[in-house]
């Protein structure tokens, strides 16, 4: 019965129960909403950007602990970073932040925040990780 232990390791539960940067901004420069309707997870990201650097992040949404913790962790990670750095963030970075192994359904929960962020910043609407998977043999 290690599964839940591992999956809900303290870090995730902590972010879930005490989300960082949750809320909205007065006048965001970038706003993007996305959802994973299959789960009912919804997320809205708001950024204030100056000289290509993210000054402030706020997010709102609802969903499972993984999707909420991921949004919380990601928001901490990107504050103060440049948009170029955000573009570099990969699916593996997100999973590393979460520190868990996930099956295909919950992978989408884990990646919703990053997907929303990248869509808002770059209009990339694929699920993170898919760009890499493709390209053939």
């Amino acid at each position: 019965m290690g599964g839940w232990n591992e999956l809900y390791r303290e870090n995730i539960l902590d972010h879930y129960k005490h989300p960082r940067n949750r809320g909205t901004l007065e006048q965001p420069d970038i706003t993007y909403e996305d959802a994973n309707p299959l789960c009912g997870d919804e997320l809205r990201m708001e950024l204030r950007v100056k000289d290509g650097r993210i000054e402030q992040v706020r997010w709102t949404g609802h969903g499972c602990s993984i999707s909420q913790a991921a949004a919380s962790m990601l928001s901490e990670r990107i504050e103060g970073r440049t948009l170029d750095e955000v573009k570099q963030l990969s699916r593996d970075d997100m999973l590393e932040m979460l520190g868990i192994e996930l099956g295909p359904v919950r992978l989408k929960c884990a990646l919703l925040a990053l997907k929303t962020l990248k869509a808002g910043v770059y209009g990339i609407t694929q699920w993170p990780g898919e760009e890499e998977e493709e390209g053939g043999s």
Partner: protein, 420 residues
């Protein structure tokens, strides 16, 4: 075979021993730690040895393409495929095997009606009547058709308890514009057994053709298409102990005869010239290309297995377990049950656990080996109507045992302690 509806008296079935049944399913014999507690039979059922053996025998002894071969194994394969069709016709008490068309699943069966019957019969201004508790597979094909043909969609409303409210039915059917009614027999989320026969008689009196989505009923209770009185019925093999890749549409012969074909190619043709073709007779008119032969054989074996248990007994078993589960789930604090009272439901139970997201509940349960479904179960409008984003669903079949319910309840307590 008596048709069970919400109002009819239950026959006294001869019960079977679910523990013995369980041993005939290889997935439950496989050792694993924790053991598999499979409570997701509404998504797909497990398969008994008999089904796998029938398919292995087909592939190992008489695998051949059907209908055309003049050699022994092709004749065997053809006979086995057509026997499965005849068997399903008897299982549903259809008038003839010709009325049974094999499809990939229920979804394809419903789409077949929408494409073939729908496009031939519906005109702008007509209406289709559905219910608010449909599975997406009995919703989206009609939406596509409705958008293409300027047809109106209407809905029989659902009560907060998850039952159909038939009170507005006369009004919904009253203007004579409803040409087709399609309703789910047993809800895949709430387990509600709908009063289909009643809807059928109202709908047919109003001149509408009636489709029954029997995906969740045919696997679990006696279904008799003639007793139901409907015009079309869809069911799906993988939920009834059969393999994936096969399902069926039953339709009244006169309707099927009058319908244009759906997919073109292969067995559905009688004569082909370069620019025109003549269609084959029923049921082949609707079976294009090489069909799921092994899967039909497997489905036939599943029917035999279900008949051995007795569909009355299967349903009685499901309901007995549902009764036990409802009782035990009421012990769990903050658990909110969805759906109707026991008397009007089958072996499907959906619930919410406080404000813990169903995904999180399912993940904790998985660590206990308990497989349940979490989400909207392909019924978003139903969830929206009930005001919930998603739910946890436990569902049973003939191999389900009370200990599995106990494991579920234990896991739920655990989930509460993690997220509490």
């Amino acid at each position: 075979m008596a048709q069970w509806t919400a109002t009819a008296a239950l026959p006294q079935p001869r019960p079977f021993d679910p523990r013995a049944v369980r041993q005939q399913f290889p997935i439950f014999r496989a050792r694993r730690e924790p053991p598999l507690v499979y409570l997701d039979s509404a998504a797909t059922s497990q398969k008994p040895d008999a089904v796998l053996e029938a398919m292995n025998e087909y592939y190992s002894l008489y695998n051949a393409n059907i209908h055309r071969g003049i050699y022994r194994i092709a004749e065997q394969a053809t006979a086995a495929y057509e026997d499965a069709r005849a068997h399903l016709a008897r299982f549903l008490n259809a008038g003839s095997p010709r009325e049974v068309i094999f499809t990939r699943n229920s979804t394809e069966a419903l789409n077949l009606i929408a494409y073939s019957w729908g496009r031939a019969n519906l005109r702008a201004g007509d209406a289709i009547l559905l219910t608010e508790m449909e599975h997406h597979s009995n919703l989206v094909p009609w939406q596509i058709l409705a958008a293409e043909r300027q047809v109106e969609l209407r809905f029989i409303p659902m009560t907060p308890e998850g039952e159909l409210d038939l009170e507005p039915l006369p009004r919904l059917l009253g203007d004579g514009r409803v040409k087709l009614v399609s309703v789910v027999h047993v809800s895949n989320v709430l387990g509600t057994v709908n009063p289909v026969a009643e809807i059928v008689s109202a709908a047919r009196a109003a001149g509408a053709v009636v489709v029954v989505d029997a995906s969740q009923s045919v696997p679990h209770l006696p279904v008799d298409v003639r007793a139901l009185g409907c015009d079309f019925l869809a069911c799906t093999g993988h939920k009834m102990l059969g393999p994936t890749g096969i399902g069926a549409l039953w339709g009244r012969r006169e309707l099927l005869e009058a319908m244009p074909p759906f997919l073109g190619g292969g067995e559905m043709i009688r004569e082909v010239k370069l620019t025109e073709s003549k269609w084959n007779e029923l049921p082949w008119k609707f079976e294009a290309g090489t069909m799921a032969i092994a899967e039909a054989v497997g489905l036939g074996a599943a029917l035999l297995y279900l008949e051995g248990l007795g569909m009355d007994a299967v349903f009685a078993h499901d309901r007995e377990l549902a009764a036990y589960a409802l009782g035990r789930l009421r012990e769990v604090p903050d658990l909110r049950l969805l759906g109707p009272p026991l008397e009007r439901r089958g072996g499907v139970i959906a619930f919410e656990l406080g404000d813990i997201h169903p995904h999180d509940v399912a993940t904790v349960l998985d660590s206990h080996g308990v497989a349940v479904r979490a989400g909207h179960h392909c019924a978003m409008p139903l969830h929206r109507k009930l005001g919930v984003v998603a739910s946890v669903r436990a569902s049973f079949h003939c191999y389900s045992v009370p200990e599995e319910v106990d494991a579920l309840v234990e896991g739920l307590h655990h989930a509460r302690s993690v997220f509490g």
